[in-house]
Symmetry: D2
Subunit: 148 residues, 4 copies
């Protein structure tokens, strides 16, 4: 993980639980999204600006491994890193940790592409937004250097 990007943290909301008294499995994809957008913001990858310029970032794949259930009130921390980026597609990896007992609660990945909002076709960030591409590319290089 990039040294300068701190983990995303918050506590579990009541409405995120289901009748098993644990966070519903679908909500982990929402937590991944929160963590991903927080990471982007901290890294200077301005997603709202990108969307304002007509480029969306849909999810093309996602996976989760549920290891220790989160419960109402649990504080959790999400370690996020970008694991691939070629200007057309990119990937993130997530690890949700519960500081109170050190448990790894879940791990997962998501894959994304850049999409033209109007045409609804994939676009090359390098050609469409070259300045933004440079920022994303630098971050990927930084991640690769520090990566596992």
């Amino acid at each position: 993980m990039s040294e300068r990007i701190t983990p995303y943290t918050r506590r579990v909301f009541y409405y995120e639980t289901d009748k098993m008294a644990i966070v519903h499995n679908s909500n982990y994809l929402r937590i991944f999204e929160e963590a991903r957008l927080d990471y982007m913001e901290k890294a200077g990858l301005d997603y709202p600006a990108l969307e304002a310029r007509g480029v969306l970032i849909p999810v093309v794949s996602a996976s989760v491994r549920y290891l220790s259930p989160l419960r109402y009130g649990d504080e959790f921390s999400v370690e996020t890193r970008m694991t691939a980026f070629n200007g057309i597609r990119f990937s993130y990896r997530y690890r949700i940790v519960r500081p109170s007992d050190g448990a790894v609660c879940a791990e997962g990945e998501s894959g994304h592409c850049f999409l033209d909002e109007a045409a609804r076709v994939p676009v090359s960030l390098r050609r469409r937004e070259p300045e933004m591409y440079t920022v994303w590319k630098s971050l990927m290089d930084e991640e690769t250097e520090h990566g596992t």
Copy 2:
């Protein structure tokens, strides 16, 4: 309720429950929305067409009285009626009933306006979409005749 518009029915999904093992209070507003759009469709008030023409129907107010909690697997039926319509604002009333024991599970209301999507200002349906206005107006007259 209009004689020709049948109630909206489905069963409770697992993920709609919370750790109290009942449907989360916020989900009743989602069920009201499902019932309202189903009512509109059955009544010939074509909401997708309206939205495609740049008119949105946001919610300006909503209220719920929770009477008997819905649980996972419960089948429920929503009786919906339009209770006011003047071409600028309109209101709906809802009653959620559980056929298995006849319980009234919840009652509520919602208020709405017509909104221009681009300008984000309220619009008069009569002036903006006169043909659609006529259909809505007729339905309101029909509701009034059969009302309460």
Copy 3:
């Protein structure tokens, strides 16, 4: 509002929006719940302890007036106060403000009762949990003194 209880704040998550590009109406009830539980915690009304002792706090009524839509990324602040408490039922009032432009985005209320988890019948907090009752009662007195 009690002087010592600070407003609840966070930012809008992407998944809280709908295709109108605003926060879905149902999510305001979720935000109210977040704010209510945050208020309880700050006030020393220990809800997790209450639930652990078999007393639930279901919602018996709720209402929202939507004034200015919240959008993705908006920071918001919720001013919460307890407006009634008699040991059997109690009420909260909420005001969601967006600091960036000072807009009041929504206002609302919720009504609650204390419920025995096993028997699923309302209980008197005074008789069931007299020590907790005293804390709640003191807070209500404090709210009344400072109240509008």
Copy 4:
């Protein structure tokens, strides 16, 4: 897919969309859950009875490939099959199809175990609920015969 188990179908709800005007990625896990529980019911695998006897079925892993976005009002059909079952763990596979244009909208898998509700440890269905085990086992054999 078992010949006798029909696909699960419904239409997309308005609140399932996000500001990209497509169904939010997390909701596909909810749709998988709806389809899985519908499949279980149609197959005679009585999940509510199992839960009433203190056996939960948490999700231990899940994955989704998003192929063609679902939009508000789309009717979709989910083809579900059980792909593995050994009495302790089991897996499902899902394919969401949109009949209007024949598009495969998403594919995915989920992995599950049987969990003792009180002890929160995995249990063997064969030992804990032998009669139910037999029903599940027969279905798995049936799936294997008809499987791809």
